[in-house]
Each structure stands twice: as C-alpha cells, then as structure tokens.
Amino acid sequence: MAVGSLHHNGLFFRTLTEEQVQDIHRASCEILEQTGMVIHHEEAVELLRSAGAHVEAGNRVYFPTHLVEKAVASAPSRVTIYNRQGKPAMYLEGSKVYFGTGSDTLNYLDPVTGERRSWRQEDVAQAVRVVDYLPQIDFVMSMGLLSDVDRRMINREQYALMLQNSVKPQVVIAEDGDTLKDIIEMAAAARGGKDKLKQKPLFMLYTEPTSPLQQPRESTDKLLIAAEHGVPTNFACGGVAGASVPTTVGGALVQANAEALSGLVIHQLKAPGAPFIYGYGNSPMDMRTMQAVYGTPEAVMFQGGLVNLAQYYQLPSWGYAGCSNSKVTDEQAVMEATMFTLMGALQGCNMMHDVYYMEFGLTGSLEFLLINNEVIGRARRMLDGIATDRESLAVDAIKRVGPGGNFLGDEHTAKHFKENWLPELSDFNSYENWAALGSKTMAERAREKVIAIMQSHQPEPVSAEVQSRIAEILAQARVHVGAKE
C-alpha cells in the first residue's frame, strides 16, 4: 500500500517515501533479530518461544522477521471506538483524525483562581465535563492525577470520573493488570456486558515498553489482558531522544518502531486479530535544561514518519498534538500546540492525545484546552481541501454578479458562507469594539468561557444501575488493595 494521507479534494501529505519507510522497517527488524528485547514476562516469553523466537538468559528475546510480518498481517487495518451511548465515535482508519486530552498531569491551573495546584476529584470531574462539551475534542483521558484519593486507587477513580462525566470514549492508563481488569468491569457495566464491550469498545488502553528495548512486567501484563478482552491498545514507546532513543529522528523511529512491533507480535500471538493501535512518541531531551520536551520540530517530524509506517503496515495510528512546554497559556504554548496540531492533522494521525498538556506533561490547563479546541477546528477545516465541483467553482455566481457587483447580496454567498470556518474565541472585532468588550486577550476569553461551561454544561449521566455497579467495583478494589475510603 502506498504511504501518505489523502484528505479531501486531493489534499495530500506525506513525510517519508515508501523506500524510506522500508529502510526503517528493515532496520527495526534487524534490531529485533540481532539485539532483541528484554521481556520481563514469562507468559509472553513462552508465547514468543513457541512461535519460533530465540530466547537467551530467560528473558532476552530475539525476534525472527517472519513473526513480525505475521503479526502485521493478522492485526486489523481499522478499529472503531464507540461512545458510552453505543454510537460510533471514532473510525480509526484511513486519514481520519481525532483529538483527545492527556492523562495524569500533576498540577492543575485553576481557571477560577489562576493558582497552580494539585488535582482533586471535583477538578477532574469538571475537566472531563468540559471535554464532554467541546466539539473538537473526541476522546477523554484522565487529565489530572488525583491527590485526594488513596494512591493505589488513582487510575480506577479516574476512570469512574471519566465514565460518569462524559459520553465520549476514553483512553486509559492503568497502573497494573488488576487495575485494568477493574476498568474493564466498569466499562462493561456501562456497555451492558463484556461481550458488548468487545463488540463496541468504549476505551483504548495506553501501555508501553520502557525504552530502550525492554518490556516491563506490568506493561506486558496489560497488553495480554487487552488482547484477551478485545480492548484496543497501543504499545507506545515514550522516547526521550538523546537519552532513551537515538537523537536522530530516523534512529528514534527505528527503535520506537522495533519496540511497538515487539508489542504487536506478543499481542497478536495472544489473540490474532485483536485491535492494535500503532504509534509512539518522542520528547527529545533538551541538552541544556535536561527536560524531556514536547512538540519540538523533530518530535513533529517523527510523528509524520510513524504515520507513514502505520500506513505501510495498514494499522491505525496513535500520536500527539496540542501540547506545550510553557508554564502558562502564552505565545509559546499556542505556538507549540498549533504547529503540532496542524501538522498532526495533515499527517493524518488517527488518534492524537495530550491536547492541553503544558510544562512537558506536568501541568494541565483548561483555558489552553479551549484554545486548542479552536485550533483543531481551524485545522480540520483545512483538511477539507478545495472543492472544485461546478457549484463550488461558482461560475454562475461570478457571471451573475458581474463586473463591479458585490457577492454579499448574492444567493451563492448566503448558501455557502457557513461552510467557512467561524471563530468562537478568536477576536475579529474592530479595535473599538474589542476595547468596548474589555480589551481581553484570547487567554482571558478562554478562561471566562471555561468557567461558563463548568457552570452550565450537564453531561448525560450514567444510569442509577451503572452508578451503583461502579461504586461496587470501586469498593471491592479498595478492599483488595487495602485502601481507605
């Protein structure tokens, strides 16, 4: 299959040629074959051994290329994720793009007080409700790390809050296999059974190798559980170029691809045909500050490469957008986020997360999320390309209006102007009118709107029955992990 993303009306984007993609594929296979991976999981090692992989020292696994190619062939080329109401919400196929938030930021920039502080349950609930409201945000992640629940319960409590406060599908982080099982139980309760959840997935699992070239026990555990339950999952290296993956974009791709493929092989051995979302990320290390920074030009190009690899493998793709290293919603935040979002949209990455991340994933801001919502709207409009059917070419209208006329009074304008992008937050006023409205910056307008959404938006609640089932699952888990109420 040819690589590249064909959007609408001939708009096409490609980062790598097919030859380059094959070079990367071959290099990754060479690494898997000759360097292999350390896999801290007995069942996975056994699966690989009996499928023909070479194992040394108990957990060093060398992958023959035929295993990789078999896994690539057996994984589905498209995956549909459904919302809580059972309606299809995301078609992960072709060049379709979807956006969502990130998980587990430590700090919340409180839109009301402007304070940078820890997240509480009510904050996460509100943040999820804002996501539920925003038209351009397609899926939800936990956003904030809860500071007011028992630490061992964080991921479960976060999932309950996502389920209760939005109908949108979720991407989840789970600390371990037991946590994932409880999350599956909660999702199944909302869906009306595990079979139905398998038929219509409500969430995707986000799990990952530990670069370079290791699979920790928990990650692999979760990968196998996901395969077994038909829960869509990725196996996404979170590379830090220059530290855990090579500093060159090509080298980072070779290694991240090898790691993702190693996960795919295990996943498909466990359950051939189970849904797998291919992708990974790269936050290159800044060699002055030693921070893992998001959305550098190299990280954005890297994502273009991974999308082309996904297309070559015919797998849905996973990546990033709308994130920043800035500490506040300022010019840098919007610049970094906008570049990533527009490029990601053009790249045709199916699922992009971390929209709203600030301070390299340590802080989350809802006003920034709102600005991102507007940026995504603009980007999506551009993916429409230019329509060239007779009506859009407006030949009749041009003739009608003629020399010296005005299109404002023509029916063609009235009929089509709404196809054009309309701002919600961006200010298109005259100076006088902008001043009369309080001379507000975009961030100030975004903050006001967030507060208004928080006060007014009521997401569709879960039924009383599902609610009590969630409470039951959480209560059992608390006993199981020995947590207090």
Partner: protein
C-alpha cells in the same frame, strides 16, 4: 606543568583517546598518579561544570568530558592504594519500588561521577529492603532515591523508615528527586535534601559530604 594544562584541555574537549595517551605517557614519566587526577583530570572537569552551568556546554559534551576523565582515572587507579584514591564521596542511587523511570537518575549519576563522586547504581524498581542491604554492603556517604510517579513516592519514606529501623539512618545522608518530588515532601519524610535537577543534585551532594 604544561602537560597538566594540556590534559585539562583534552578533558574539556572530551578527547577520550588523547587523555588516555597522555595519562599513559605521564605514568611512564613517573608523574605522581594522584597528581594526575588532582592537577590534570579534575581541573578540566571543574571547568566543564562551570561552563555547563553557564549554558556554554551541553549535556552530551559534559558526558564526553566525563568519559575522557574516566579513561584517565582507569589507568592511574591501579597505581593508587584504595584509601588514597581521591573521591568526593560514595553515592548509592536507585529508582524506587514500582518505578521504572531512570533517565533522570542516570543523568544525576553521570553528573555526580563527573564531579568526582563514586556511584553505585542499584537500578530501577528498588524496594526498601534492597536499599538497606546495599547500604550495609557499600557503606555510602549518600543514598539518592528517584521517583517519577506519585504512586511510588511513598516508597521513599518506607526506605527512610527501614534505614532507621536498621540503625543506619545516622550513617548516611538521604537525598531524593524526580518530577513529582518537592522540597516540602523531602522535609515531610525526613530526607536530608532534595534537588530539582542533576546540576543541583551535584551541589547538594558536595554540600552534604563537606561536613
């Protein structure tokens, strides 16, 4: 001696092979091995530290300098009795139980090493009992714990408690770090120090081992 200056320059430039050759030549010329370290290798590395802080050098360049210095030290080490070996102190480090993040910890190690500390890295996912065992075995001056997950931070307190129980707490300084860790958390769990990055960790260790 001009050769010491040349050696320092080579360390600054990260000239691995050059440092090795010059160290060997000095050894052959009967230069005092301790002086090779103190007057040739270390002064170069000290300049590197200053330049890095000023933003004139980048992390990978610092690493190359540290590697060059280590190449020299490796050659002179067999010639020096262990007790005479100049060292800033011994630091035992590990990422705590349940946590696999180690990029930051490795950076801290490399920076400490380049400042003359001896590092014993236990690896990742290190339970309190393992820290205790290692303290008994290696008798470090400082124990450094790294955690990037809020869920694993508590294990730092467990380790400190375990050290107390074994009567080892007074013999070592305990420092902690990692993105979610703060100074106030360090105080809360009774650690001796916290540092937000690898350069600050080096200063902290110097300060804690000075007295």
């Amino acid at each position: 001696m001009a050769e010491f200056n040349k050696m320092s320059e080579m360390v600054i430039a990260g000239d691995f092979a050059g440092v090795k050759a010059l160290t060997q030549k000095m050894i052959d010329d009967q230069v005092d091995p301790i002086s090779i370290i103190n007057d040739g290798l270390m002064p170069g590395m000290n300049v590197v530290g200053v330049r890095f802080k000023a933003g004139d050098m980048f992390v990978p360049e610092v690493m190359m300098s540290a590697k060059a210095m280590a190449a020299g030290i490796e050659l002179v080490k067999p010639l020096i009795a262990e007790s005479n070996m100049p060292t800033a102190g011994k630091v035992l480090v590990g990422t705590v139980k349940g946590d696999l993040h180690d990029i930051g910890k490795k950076l801290v190690n490399m920076m400490l090493e380049s400042a003359g500390f001896q590092i014993i890295d236990l690896g990742v996912d290190i339970a309190p009992a393992k820290f205790v065992e290692a303290v008994k075995e290696h008798k470090p001056d400082v124990v450094g714990m790294s955690a990037l997950l809020t869920t694993t931070m508590l294990s730092m307190k467990d380790t400190i408690d375990a050290l107390k129980e074994e009567g080892l707490r007074d013999r070592v300084k305990v420092i902690i770090g990692g993105a979610p860790v703060t100074q106030s958390f360090a105080e809360q769990i009774g650690a001796d120090g916290y540092a937000p990055d690898a350069a600050a960790a080096t200063d902290l260790c110097k300060q804690l081992t000075a007295n």
